[in-house]
């Protein structure tokens, strides 16, 4: 059996957070005596990830997804638990470990603002002990894949958000990491840029067999990249498995749009006790449980004059949105 490249056991992380009440009284009290409390952001989480997997971390804001990524890449220390990434303790930040990973944060940048990205790429290449010839080759290869050849020589501050994000990605991948930690990599990008980035990540994963851990609030990122998802709710792991299975489990219904022949049929259908999701004159959308689709369809088709029908899955965003606020999946 293939060994996990990332192994996490009973991982917990707490932060000390000080709070202040509003007003002058609160300010004075805060000045003389700070009230700090410990908040457990990650609670006893266990999971393993195999080489080459693309895993999506799902959860509402503040659920703890980004904290998990930060612990896995060695940026912050865990409070409790065991973890191993490529056989290393991430928080030790050994050079050999750091040369194998990368972290991309949608809202943070490492490129030097006033210089063209190419300068940051050569700097990163030097930091990762890549010689100039090899660095040149990799920059060419990655910039072709990301389609940013023209932007390499323009100061970062003059680039669009999409161009900047692609440049960030190139800077983060120049050392060919085996594990990518991506924290909302498509944040703020337009639809085309998001699609291109996803395409690039799919190709990168296929060509290098890199492991990718991803958090995103854009469900398209998750559905098009991740076969497996880990759901986090208030620091606890609530689901770890295939995305497809999760969607089936969470959404045991389908929406069916019936186009009735007459207004009379439409009226009768809407009053016959089914769950009506939408109605627009002769068009009625009914939500039906997946296990009773056959019998219900038979009943409706026999009883009413139906001109046409369409079977739809409920939008993935809607389903996942429901997962994010659930304690147990």
């Amino acid at each position: 059996m293939e060994e996990n490249i990332i192994q996490v056991e009973n991982l917990s992380k707490s932060f000390d957070i000080s709070s202040k009440k509003p007003g002058l009284k609160g300010t004075l009290k805060h000045f003389f005596k700070r009230e700090t409390r410990s908040i457990e952001i990650i609670k006893n989480i266990t999971f393993g990830i195999k080489k080459g997997e693309i895993v999506g971390f799902l959860g509402a804001n503040g659920a703890g997804k980004t904290t998990i990524l930060k612990i896995l890449c060695g940026l912050i220390y865990p409070s409790q638990g065991k973890l191993s990434v490529t056989g290393n303790l991430p928080y030790k930040r050994r050079p050999n470990f750091l040369k194998n990973i990368t972290l991309i944060m949608g809202q943070k940048q490492q490129l030097i603002w006033d210089l063209p990205p190419i300068e940051s790429f050569y700097l990163n290449a030097a930091i990762y002990d890549i010689d100039k010839f090899e660095a040149k080759k990799r920059i060419k290869q990655l910039s072709d894949m990301l389609e940013i050849e023209k932007e390499l020589y323009i100061p970062v501050r003059k680039l669009s958000l999409g161009q900047r994000m692609k440049s960030e990605l190139l800077a983060a991948l120049i050392h060919k990491p085996n594990i990518l930690f991506l924290d909302e990599p498509t944040l703020g990008l337009d639809i085309n840029a998001q699609r291109n980035l996803r395409k690039f990540l799919q190709i990168y994963n296929k060509e290098t067999d890199a492991t990718i851990c991803l958090t995103s609030h854009y469900m398209k990122d998750i559905t098009s990249l991740c076969k497996r998802v880990i759901c986090i709710h208030e620091g606890c792991l609530t689901y770890d498995g295939k995305l497809e299975k999760l969607l089936k489990k969470i959404s045991p219904v389908k929406d069916i749009l019936f186009i009735c022949k007459t207004d009379k049929d439409a009226k009768e259908l809407s009053n016959s006790g089914f769950i009506i999701k939408n109605q627009n004159q002769k068009e009625i959308t009914i939500t039906i449980k997946k296990d009773s689709i056959k019998s219900t369809l038979k009943k409706i088709l026999n009883k009413f004059e139906i001109e046409d029908l369409y079977i739809n899955e409920p939008p993935v965003d809607e389903i996942i949105g429901n997962i994010l606020v659930k304690e147990k999946v």
Partner: protein
């Protein structure tokens, strides 16, 4: 050592120098703003204070010009940059690279010094035009020793500020601690007055602190004033070797407390 090699060092310096050139006007203004020793020279000579320390006007003006040069090439601001980067989470990407982020700051400082160089020369030329009698060319040996002691002075200040910067991991506003050091640095470093002008009992205490080795010692070497070169270098090396392990320990403890706020 420290995962740093020649290739990394040269690339770091080249990139940071390119970056600093983007701010050349700002750096020129900073260079001009460092003319405090010239004001002090004016106060000293106008009030004939130099007589009390047995230094001629020419020697005193050479001392303050040297102090200006030493200051130009030993200015440190790492605590302010680091504080901002740590509080906004900007250091996160650098922390997971196989090079301590302080090397980036070190390279920024050295690149800034290189950028300052032509402006400092222009200011010196203007100074000599106004005070032609102060013109002097130090011997090559003294010049090299002054360069080395200025670099050591820069290292001492860089290490002190880096240690304070690491307190960001605990207090978040570490730069306020640095401000506590501003007054002793200003008065005891030799920026406002040569340390020989202090009373004997004060001098005996000052010389065991790192302050007189920041400006006074290198400025005395460069200007050709009498100074004990061996004990001066010994004290600079002593302070570097005391401060470096403290920095390493503070950094190691601090990064354990890092919460990657703002990212």
């Amino acid at each position: 050592m420290f995962n740093l090699n020649k290739h990394k060092l040269i690339t770091l310096l080249k990139v940071q120098y390119s970056n600093m050139l983007e701010y050349r006007v700002e750096i020129a203004l900073w260079a001009v703003s460092g003319i405090i020793p010239f004001f002090m020279l004016n106060i000293w000579t106008n009030n004939n204070l130099n007589e009390s320390i047995n230094l001629s006007n020419v020697m005193l003006s050479r001392y303050f010009l040297s102090a200006f040069f030493v200051r130009q090439f030993s200015v440190v601001w790492v605590v302010f940059t680091f504080e901002e980067d740590a509080l906004l989470g900007k250091i996160s990407p650098y922390l997971i690279q196989p090079l301590n982020p302080f090397f980036r700051y070190l390279a920024q400082h050295i690149a800034e010094q290189i950028t300052r160089f032509p402006f400092a020369i222009i200011i010196a030329l203007i100074f000599f035009l106004i005070n032609p009698e102060s013109l002097w060319i130090p011997s090559l040996n003294l010049f090299l020793l002054a360069c080395i002691s200025t670099f050591f002075s820069f290292l001492i200040q860089f290490l002190i500020q880096s240690i304070i910067a690491c307190f960001c991991f605990w207090t978040e506003k570490a730069s306020s601690i640095e401000r506590l050091l501003f007054i002793p640095t200003l008065f005891l470093s030799g920026l406002l007055a040569p340390v020989i002008s202090f009373p004997e009992y004060v001098k005996s205490w000052i010389y065991i602190t790192p302050f007189p080795y920041l400006i006074d010692f290198p400025a005395n070497i460069l200007s050709g004033n009498n100074t004990n070169i061996i004990s001066g270098f010994f004290m600079q090396i002593f302070w570097i070797s005391v401060l470096f392990p403290i920095f390493k320990r503070t950094w190691s403890l601090g990064t354990k407390k890092y919460t990657a706020m703002g990212s």
